[in-house]
């Protein structure tokens, strides 16, 4: 059973087709990177998978449960309760971190599980501290996001996503707002998660990193999937467009 499965997904914005019949699945423990030029639909695909965007057509499942089904050429979404349940299956790390500025680091991590999953505060705090330890920020528990560097903010954002105990973690260009040095901080954390067999989908422009950390690389262009294979195969692809894109890095 796939953790997430998208089938024949279509999405247009104002008549422009952004996703043209995309199908994709991710299995437990897999690390999948999505690469491709700007406007190729990578982020939109992620947004459809995280329910931030509704698909025009196509189906979506989490752990075998149908979240949206294609009926007569349109996506029909399941009930609010099922969508709510589906949201607890995944976490999302944003390009711009999107920490809550009025919460301390600790509260950022504990508030969602306590309020929205009904977890015990003490237990949530212990777990949050373990996560902060893991991302190397246990001394920042009482700091506010404005006191952190970009790399630290993103590490807190990763801890916040992990605190919800997701089955799969999505990253939407997690290092695009960071300088090369801070980028390395984040990649180190993602690498460690990959070693723990965390299921992850990473939209990224870090080619070297994608090649090194991924089990599978998807190359998207103009709303279609051009490549969907192991890093070695994608990086040695004979497809002209793929070679052209990868050759730029």
């Amino acid at each position: 059973m796939h953790i997430v499965e998208l089938d024949h997904v279509k999405k247009s914005f104002d008549g422009t087709e952004v996703l043209k019949d995309i199908s994709l699945y991710v299995d437990k423990g897999e690390v999948v990177s999505i690469i491709g030029p700007s406007g190729s639909g990578k982020s939109t695909l992620l947004r459809c998978a995280t329910l931030l965007e509704t698909m025009d057509d196509g189906s979506l499942s989490y752990a075998g449960e149908r979240i949206a089904d294609s009926k007569n050429g349109r996506s029909v979404y399941a009930s609010k309760e099922i969508l709510k349940k589906a949201r607890s299956c995944f976490g999302l790390v944003f390009q711009n971190f999107e920490l809550f500025p009025h919460f301390t680091v600790l509260r950022n991590i504990t508030d969602p599980p306590v309020r929205n999953q009904g977890r015990d505060r003490g237990e949530a705090e212990r777990e949050a501290m373990a996560l902060l330890e893991k991302v190397g920020l246990s001394d920042k528990r009482d700091a506010y996001p404005c006191e952190l560097s970009g790399g630290q903010k993103q590490r807190v954002a990763i801890a916040r996503a992990l605190a919800m105990k997701p089955d799969i973690l999505y990253f939407d260009e997690p290092t695009s707002a960071l300088d090369p040095e801070l980028t390395q901080e984040i990649l180190k954390v993602i690498r460690a998660l990959a070693e723990e067999k965390m299921t992850m989908v990473i939209v990224t422009h870090e080619m070297k990193f994608a090649r090194e950390v991924s089990d599978r690389i998807i190359f998207m262009e103009k709303g279609t999937i051009v490549e969907n294979d192991s890093p070695d195969k994608v990086f040695s692809s004979t497809n002209e467009r793929t070679r052209q894109f990868i050759g730029k890095f």
């Binding site: 999302l92 711009n96 809550f100 500025p101 009025h102 309020r115 929205n116 506010y144 919800m164």
Partner: protein
Amino acid sequence: MDIATILLELGRGMLTTLQIFALTLLFSLPLGFLVCFGRMSRNPVLSWIIRIYIAIMRGTPLMLQLIVIYFGPYYIFGLSTSPAYRGIAVIIAFSLNYAAYFAEIYRSGFGSIPKGQYEAAEVLGYSRTRTFFAIILPQVFKRILPAVTNEVITLVKDTSLSFSIAYAEMFTEAKALSAAVHNVGPLMAAGLFYFVFNFLVAYVMELIEKKMSYYSI
């Protein structure tokens, strides 16, 4: 007229001014939220009605609005009003007018919160109500504070417009006293009162801003 009488009269006017100030804030601050939500509503009819309301409130003199609300019931609808209506009309006019301004300030506050904050909350399982109260509103509150301070200070001085319907607040009293004693002393005293009052308002608002400065956005 001796000085004690003058001070007593001014003091009474001062209390009335404070009352207008407090009641206007009490009604217009929450009403501003309703107006703001109407303005941001996806219902085009509601949104346009509110737009017109805001345009009128901002586009015509508050003094005229006071006059219309005070005399309107009699001259438009032929209703006779009780003497107590004078004070009520003042509060209605000020509250309606200030709610329009506050609504636009709130709207700017909501508009300044990045979409990503809503999305992060959604992905983390916050319901819409929780997102609004726990995530968005505290940030909006911090952002709009300086603009709200401006309005509150303007309100202190605007209370004097009640003079136009002869409501006996500070300014109306001071003007009458000045005329009676043939000097500007009472008016100057009133000026000093407004200044000190606003000094206090600014001080209190600054304290609140400081209290909110434990984080920046």
